[in-house]
Every structure is written in C-alpha cells, then in structure tokens.
Symmetry: C2
Subunit: 544 residues, 2 copies
Amino acid sequence: MERTISPLERARLNYRPVPPRVFESGIAAVTLSEGKGTNSRSDDEVIRATFPDLFGAPSIRFEAGPEVVSRQPLTVGVVLSGGQAPGGHNVITGLYDALAGWHQDSSLVGFLAGPRGIFEANHRELTATEIDAHRNTGGFDLIGSGRDKVETSAQLAACRETCSRLGLDGLVVIGGDDSNTNAAVLAQYFVTHGQPTVVVGAPKTIDGDLKGGGIEASFGFDTATKVYGELIGNIERDARSAKKYWHFIKLMGRSASHVTLECALSTRPNIALIGEEVRARQWTLAQLTDHIAAVVRDRAAAGRSYGVCLVPEGLIEFLPEIGSLIKEINRLLAEGIEESSLAGRLTPACAAVFAGLPERIQDQLLLDRDSHGNVQVSRIDTEALLIETVRRRLSAWSATGDYGGKFQAQHHFFGYEGRCATPSNFDANYTSALGQVAALLVAHGRTGYVCCVGGLAAPPGDWTAGGIPLTSLMRMETRKGRPTPVIAKALVDLDGAPFKQFARYREVWKNEDAYVYPGPIQYFGPEEVTARTTETLQLESGEG
Amino acid sequence: MERTISPLERARLNYRPVPPRVFESGIAAVTLSEGKGTNSRSDDEVIRATFPDLFGAPSIRFEAGPEVVSRQPLTVGVVLSGGQAPGGHNVITGLYDALAGWHQDSSLVGFLAGPRGIFEANHRELTATEIDAHRNTGGFDLIGSGRDKVETSAQLAACRETCSRLGLDGLVVIGGDDSNTNAAVLAQYFVTHGQPTVVVGAPKTIDGDLKGGGIEASFGFDTATKVYGELIGNIERDARSAKKYWHFIKLMGRSASHVTLECALSTRPNIALIGEEVRARQWTLAQLTDHIAAVVRDRAAAGRSYGVCLVPEGLIEFLPEIGSLIKEINRLLAEGIEESSLAGRLTPACAAVFAGLPERIQDQLLLDRDSHGNVQVSRIDTEALLIETVRRRLSAWSATGDYGGKFQAQHHFFGYEGRCATPSNFDANYTSALGQVAALLVAHGRTGYVCCVGGLAAPPGDWTAGGIPLTSLMRMETRKGRPTPVIAKALVDLDGAPFKQFARYREVWKNEDAYVYPGPIQYFGPEEVTARTTETLQLESGEG
C-alpha cells in the first residue's frame, strides 16, 4: 500500500534547495584549491602516529572553474550513523544529484541501519524514485541508522571487503563526533590496506556540539531548535495568559547545552540553565535550587506567579555532588553490588546527597540502567527534580514569611519532537550542499575529510564549499580507560558571543516578560520568516 | 521596554482575515433574517421556566442587504473565560473592527482576567494600538482570562451594575460550554432586571466539545490539533527511523476525545484510544492493557519493535474500575478521612484495583488534589500507567514464550504546547468572523445567542453567519447534586463520520506504518497546505 503523504510533505518534495553559487553550473565546473597544511587540536604527534596518511593534509576549498572534461562514473556508498537529525535525507539526495551530474552512470549505494550495514554488507542501490520520495523530508527512514561503530579488526576488514566488492570510489559517513572519528579510522585503515575507497564525513547532530575548526554548524540544529523554540514560545504565551504555572522544560543535549542556549536566545525565558556554566562555577543542587527559587519568589512578589525555566538534559551530571553520586553508583554496580544494597554502601557524603533526593529520583538512580549497566542519565527527570527541590525551598521560605506565593509547576521534555522534523529551508539547503561537497571530495580522491560549507549566516548563494581533514578536529581523550584520538565535542564557550549575549540580558528576562514567540517553521512566505538562521550562528559569525 | 516580536509574529500582524462574503461590504450592509423558533436539547419545560425570555427564540441568519443608514455608536464589553484557545484575540479584533465599521464612535471595553472582571469592575477600554498589536496572535494576554463564573446573586447584581455604569449595549462572552451557559444566565438576569445589555457567546475550546445544533466547531480546535499533529508526526517519523521506542502520547481533552480522534485521523498512529468507546464498551484497564500489549507483540513479531499510541487525557476516568476507585476516594476524602488511612478504608473491589496500580499512580491518586479537594485526574500520568501495565503484561508473556521482543517506551503529554499557538489561517478567519457576528447580534439587539459561522469546510468567502439561542443547546444535568440547565458537552459520537472513518482504518494502521507527517502549520504558501481544515470538520460536513 502506498503511504499517504500530507499536503506539506508533497509540497516539500518539490522544493529545490538553493545551491551555493560555486555549484550553480554543476559540480563538474568546480576546481579544488588547497589551503595550508593542518595540525590537530592538540597531541599532534600521537594523532600523526595513528593517522600517518591523513595527518597534516591541507584544508580544501572548491571554487568555480573550467569544466572537468574527463569524468568517470563514480560508485559511492552512504551511511547514516547515530541519532536522527533533520536534513539527513538531503545529504543523500544532494550527493545523489551531484553524482548524477558528474556522470550519468554513477551510482549510490545506501548502507542499511547504520555502520553495521557496511561490515555486514547490508545495502541497497538507491533509485531515482526513492530519492525523489525523500527530498526535503525529515527522518532517517530512507536507509535507517544505527549506533554501532566499526571497531574490531574483523569489522574493519569486513568493511574493506564490502567496499572492495562493491567497487566503491567513496564512502560518505553522516554522523556526529564519534561517527566522524570512526570515519577517520576507516579512512586510515583503507589507505594502509590499499583499499582505494575515499572516506568522507558530514557533520550531523541536533545537539550542535560538532563545530569549530571550519565547521560552522552541524546540520539539524537549526530545525530542531526551531521546533523546540516554537513550543517554548507557545508555552511562554500560555504562562503569561494563564498566570498560573511555572513551566520547567527539559531540552535534549546531554553533553553540551547549545540547544538550551539557542532556545533561550530565541524565546527569552525567565531562566535557562547552561550546563557548562554550572560546571564552571561548581554550583551544587542546593545553590541551583536557591537561584531558581529566588526568581520564583521575586516574580511572585511582582504579581507574576508564573514563568518558564529551560533545563538542559545533561544538567544533572554537571552538578558536582550528583556527578560524584552517579560515579559512585556506577562504580558499585561495576563491582557487582546488588541494587537493593547499593544505598547502604555509599560513602557518607554521597549517602547524604542521595537521602536528600526525592524518592522517584532515587529509584531512577538505582534502577534505570543503560546498555553498559550504568545509571541512565537521560531517563532521570531532572526537570521534576528541580520542581521538587524548588517547592521544598519555597515551603521553607513560606514558613519563615519570606515567600507568600503559590508555586504550581508543569514539566515538559522536548527532544523526539524535533529530531525528525521536516528540515527548515536552511537545513534543506545546507545538507544538500554538504552532499554535493561529499561527491566532490570523492571525485577528487580526498580521503579523511569532513565536508565544510561556510559563511552560513549569509544567504545560501554566498556559501563557500570545501573540506578539512578529520584529524584537524582531533585530540586525545580518555575513553574506556585509555587515551584515544577523538574529535572533541564543542561545548558551550562561556567566552563566546552566544553565551555572552545571554548573560547580558538574562537579568532582564528573569523579572520582565520579555518572551519572544518564534512560531512554527515556515517554508514559504516572506524571507525574513523563512530564511531566519539560528541566533547562535548569527552571533558566532558576528552578525547577531 | 517594548517587547521584541519574532519575524513571524510581525508578519502575522499584517494578515487580513478573509471575511465571509456576506460581510464584504461591512456589517452595516447586512440584514437579519429569522429562522424557525427553537427548543432545547431536552427538558424544554424546565429550561423555558429558567430562561423565560430566551427560550424558543428563532435561529438567525445574516445576509447581504441594503445598508442600515441610521446607526448609533455601540459600547460593548468583551470577556475571555476559561482555558486559552488560539484565535481568542481575533474574536476581539473582529469585534473591534466591526464596531468601528458600524459607527466610528463605538467603543470596546475589555474585562480583565475573566468574568471576575465584570463583577469586580476591572476593565479597560481597548485602543486601536493594542488591538493592532494583537491581530492574529495566540494567547489570551490582551485582557487575560479566568475560570470564575458569575454565580451568586451578589455577583449577578454587580455585573448588572458594571454594565449599567459603562452603558454597555452588549457583552460578548468568549468561552466554552460552561461559560456560554453562564452567558445565558446573565442574559436572562439582565432581561428580568431591565438591564438592556445584550449578552452573546462565542464558542471557544481546543477540546472541540462545544458543537452541534448550529455550531460546527469551537475555535482553537483547528490550530491546537495541528500543533499536536505536527509533533505526533515528527515522533512517528522518529519511531520509524530509530526503530527502538514505543511512544505513548497523552493529549489534552478531559471530557471528550475529539482531539485524540482528530490527531489519529491526521497522523494515523498504530493505536489511538477513544475515551467514549472505552466507556461504551466498558473496557477495564486489564482489557485495555491486553489490547495494547497484543499490538506491541504482533508488531514485534513483524520486526517492528516501535510504535505510537495516542491516549486522551481523560481516559482514566472512563475505565469503569478506575472511575469507581476515584469516586470512592473522593467520597472518603469528602468524609474527612485522612490520606494516610484512605487505602485501608476502600471496599474490597476498589482495594484490589488500587493494589494493582504502580506506586506512583497510587501516590497521585492519594495525594494530588484539585481546588475542590478531589482527585486531580489531569495530573495522573495515564500514559505512564499504561506503559507500566503493558510492560508487566509483556513480561508475563515473555515468561510463557508468547513474546520475544524488547519493549522500550517514551511518554509525552501535549496540551500547553497548543493552547496559545499562533492561530492557523482557518482559526484567524473563523474567529474574526465570530467577532463580526457578535457585533451584529448586539447591533440588532438579540440577547442570549451564541455566534454561529457555518459551512466551515468550504473556503471562508462561502461561510454563513448567524446565531442560535443559547437555550437551544441546553438540557438538564446534575451539577453539585442538583439538576441544572447546562449546555451539554458534545462527546465523540461513535456513529459519527470521524469515528467511523477511524474504526474503518485502524486495523491497517496497527500493523503497517501508515504514518502521515502533517508538519507545522503554514501561514503562507500553496493553498492545499495553508487552507487545510481538520479531518473532523471535513468528515462531519460530508467532504472527507
């Protein structure tokens, strides 16, 4: 049975992404120019030793030029890795179109259900019909995704075998920091073992923590934060209309708080907690509670018994005492201690922290496990925890006459609502351009690169296209107890323009209702509405 | 400090709602034609006795006609009553524009923070500047809202005093079933006491349960269900992409399941529970659990360990054994039994039901109280309860080898996300027309009417305009222990076209991924995208 599609999905299938001007005459009329050689973020020598054939390669820029006349058909594989992000399909359609424009006999193979599809040789050649059915759509359902990495020697060898058998000229890995690190491993392995397949990465993640060093933004961040911004704005308007509730809204983003920061900048809530700041200042749960409760109290005194507080998903780990507690529980679990006797085995300091937590949070700490047997931080209801601790604090203040209001709270968690949204025009254009860049990197035989499209705060026609070596994003970090070369996650920079803008205005936002209601993503209509980029991007490019 | 507004909000301020053709030359060029006299839904004699001056009045239709030349300025009051719904501001702007078109010296007074604003004489004349700043915006923040009713004789007398002092020709009550019932009470009181203020109602509620008898839809339902539909569609696409989670999504709508039904029709989830059906079939929690668990099992057997299940907010009350339990707890609480000894005082049947519930739900039943001291049904995590009971059932099936899958679930609750959304073009046009009708009813001195705009499945130019007596929507119901004339809530009709459509296809939706992704509301662009009405409206008008 053919799937029924909505009027909007149908309209979006016909959208033609706006290409950077350099690609206007097709990717064959483009020349490659090399920039300077590169280093790593740090630990150059170790990274050079691990990636001897990739390290130090120059940055690359594509520029309009004479048509490359002698072109061979290209066979390229593509894989989606990790969590969904709006625009994933358009990297694939952009790649497909570029390959077809390069040579009509080119072909694109999709690896199914993530990187496992490469070493298990689970793949399918993508047809024009299915490509056309996925243009500008959300989701990763065209070929699926997965969280597996290519890790063991057997898996690496199996990947090589698959790429060799398919005769792949290129392999495009669409993923986040870990997946792009994995792409570098694969690229080096292929060179070492004489496998000619070029491996390139495309920067994906709604979390926004894969950026810097030539990557201005990961795709999906724009769309996802706009969906969350729509909802936060609607809730702000509700709070101000009903004058009854405090809304605590948890937002996806476990390691970095870019999503929360962007949403704060676009909606101006009364409070937004930034994990990186909490860590830097070593705020405890008690201090954070005091901080929030004071805002609730002051607003109530001004007749405003309502408000909105944004909470990043990963906040709880950033609180020093809770972080220590989680570490201790994980250690005890690893030692094989039964859940039922865990609480009794905690050190006095951690036991005191544990005892102060609401029962439901205690249960979540003791009972919810991830696949490695660790405390499952993402399942902890941080937003409900804060409501509870704030409620207790306000009760104490009521008893001493320091608070006379009524605290009623609602909590929300937005994450899954935005990961598969229909990509904004920005993300549709950006990802299509990334796919074209990927095709070019393959055509020019440049392995171990990540696709870069730059100047993103400007209109798409003005965007630049190029690539940087994956090794240039790397440094050594401890993973599973040993030093490992990885692409470092970009955390919120407390000296960066977005955080400074937030810090400049948040005192005003606390007490006044400075709410901004962004409304839903618009795909048609006035340009100031449809082409609005993120506040983060504008501020980081100096245009905010 | 002037509030910063988003580019979309700015663009919407300039939107001109499309009027029904009958209003094209302004409301002065309109004549009133009377239809037949009306009865009540039932209990005619009691309702006639309660509303002797309103009962039996004819339905009214406005039609294009010669200009009324002798026009006096009108002074009208307007009040928002109850929960937010998208379009409330446009009833006010439509009313304002119509009054200004009727006579340039007309004025509009806003009562602040709900009906209490009338009897407490808390009001403000609305200026052109603030009207212009709220065109086509969501929220009720222009004048606020409240849940108070005008009930006591003192309040009724105070309302009369306010209207008299302000010299109000009309009072427009924008609200749901209870608020419109209250409008009828006020209208009759004014007639009885010689107060010439005309009282008219406008049908508001995102729940969609104020309809029938000439009202085709309450405003706000269109926008709110589209916001929820956007989010459900995004989650469906995520479920299908990640192939990992079952998402249980609770939707606002405590008494009626129209919102859930509409969202089911527009997004085609695997399961949607309809409260009215559960009640009609007297399904128990155990049966419902079996039903859901069987779908999870069958999909897992087909390799689909994911899915989406919609749950109406009021579901839990519709389950006979839980309904009985809640009633018994409320009775015991009313008898003054302490919460700590409640569980021990339950009848054996209810005690058994209670014992079978997860601890968290037990707590919510015992501890969360509404302002009347009753169990706060809306705070019960029905979606989490179902996840828990389904998980237990699947575990039992695993033990006997009847289920081999892995059940991972996420839960969501969508309500506040949609109540204050920027109104869709439909709701913006509809509410503006309702405001014009309200002005006309006042101009023509017709008290005790609710504004009706009809033919809503057609383009706005073709819509009809008129009114029906509020008494024609009434019947007797028991409220606070005594028979009371009320506007009956319109529940989902299991013989109606929307439910029948759902029932026809739901077996297919269970097992296949028939998901439809509506995407966000579009205010600009192709008409098939921007002018899409609800499935409910299309089906009820025979155009589905």
